[in-house]
């Protein structure tokens, strides 16, 4: 359920690094031609170093976002209000784990092991989408995350299905196919509470939507004029639509869905613009975004600590399985 234009968090050097040899220049030329012709790049194909680095960073951050993203909703598995909702939520959170797994596998083709990527996450070096540093305080948060956070994620992710790096594109095709139920289940859950529920439930839904609206808008990343790396990302197809364009698309879709649902968004400046054919929205508080990205969000420490704890508590399990497999291999060889 990732997203957030995370390629903006740390920029790699220039578009084209200094080339050392004529052979490399030729390889670079051939690579550029393939990219421009819309061809896919496979893991074993030659690729410029900054392409490899940028992809590795983006895919691993995307993977980290999926597994950290299991935590806020996972909070509610034991408390889900009906057995049907419990099964749906468990399946959904499990899917996020699967998506993390597909993405780690895609990143591994670039020559970095999953353990190395996890080490970067656990040591705080790697980033993940900061939306998951917000708390889930009520059951309606589960629905709001499905509707708004997954909705925003899907808008960001669908274009990546056509990304130039084939293992990433293939993983994204699978993820987008599986995620199609995630947004629906969230919206459906909110819809039932709004249409058939009690006054207390409707208040719970509105309160959750109020908290998630602005962080969701931030998921698309900083405004285009502050997102200098987009040109390179666009060329490589790891980013195909600009942050602001996606954000606007999201707002337009959400406004219509909110009306059906019977909730409002906490923005007095939201109004229909006849001239543009879009909804205008108010100023986003980017200082909050950078504060949360920088580690000062409500749950940054808890999220990371939960991941580290699971990893450390699992160490003896992973070691034991490997030790057992090696004993078995020795017996086979004997």
């Amino acid at each position: 359920m990732y997203t957030q234009a995370m390629d903006t968090l740390r920029e790699e050097g220039g578009d084209k690094p200094a080339l050392r040899t004529a052979e490399e220049a030729q390889l670079q030329q051939r690579f550029d031609n393939r990219i421009d012709a819309g061809e896919f790049i496979e893991a074993k194909d030659w690729m410029p170093e900054n392409y490899r680095k940028t992809l590795l960073r983006q895919i691993s951050q995307h993977a980290h976002s999926e597994i950290v993203g299991m935590l806020p909703e996972g909070n509610w598995i034991t408390r889900a209000p009906t057995l049907k909702r419990k099964a749906i939520l468990l399946a959904k959170v499990q899917d996020e784990g699967g998506h993390g797994l597909y993405l780690y596998a895609a990143a591994e083709t670039l020559g970095t092991s999953r353990d190395q990527m996890l080490d970067a996450l656990h040591s705080g070096k790697a980033k993940y989408s900061s939306i998951f540093n917000y708390p889930t305080l009520t059951w309606a948060d589960v629905g709001a995350i499905g509707w708004l956070v997954d909705g925003a994620a899907i808008m960001n992710q669908v274009p990546i299905c056509r990304c130039s790096f084939a293992p990433y594109a293939r993983a994204m095709v699978r993820i987008c196919r599986e995620e199609s139920f995630h947004q629906r289940q969230g919206y459906d859950s909110l819809l039932v509470m709004m249409k058939e529920g009690t006054e207390a439930q409707r208040a719970m839904v509105q309160e959750a939507v109020n908290r998630w609206w602005w962080p969701c808008l931030m998921m698309f990343g900083p405004p285009d004029d502050q997102s200098p790396n987009s040109v390179q990302g666009m060329r490589w197809g790891i980013k195909r639509v600009s942050n602001d364009t996606l954000r606007q698309k999201f707002v337009d879709a959400a406004m219509q869905q909110a009306e059906v649902l019977g909730v409002t968004f906490p923005d007095p400046d939201l109004r229909w613009n006849e001239a543009t054919g879009h909804w205008d929205y108010g100023a986003i508080d980017w200082s909050e975004f950078w504060r949360v990205v920088g580690g000062e969000g409500p749950c940054n420490r808890e999220r990371l600590a939960a991941r580290v704890r699971a990893w450390e508590e699992g160490e003896w399990v992973r070691e034991a399985a490997l030790a057992h497999a090696r004993k078995f291999d020795l017996k086979e060889a004997a």
Binding site: E42, K44, D45, W46, A91, Q94, D95, G98, L101, Y102, A105, E108, S113, R114, D115, Q116, D119, A171, R174, E178, R318, E319, A321, L322, H324, A325, F328
Partner: protein, 96 residues
Amino acid sequence: MSTENEWPLWEVFVRTKAGLDHKHCGSLHAADPKMALQMARDVYTRRQEGSSVWVVRSDQIVASDPSDKDMLFDPAEDKVYRHPTFYKLPDSVDHM
């Protein structure tokens, strides 16, 4: 950091239904073959995608070198006579 204690990587191939080929669908980490098979089932067939699963240690796969692509595959390009569409038959026998 060391990765020598990382579980090996396996490639997963799934047959979606009887009669079809096994198709590569992704990879995963597992400590042993039996675990790899179970994990493949749990990770890659959650939505009735499978009726049979193969797993292969990734380091056991022999792959062609991308730089040999021209040499290996381009020579087939001009063998147009291998395709049925190369042959134009009279309309009366066109379903041959």
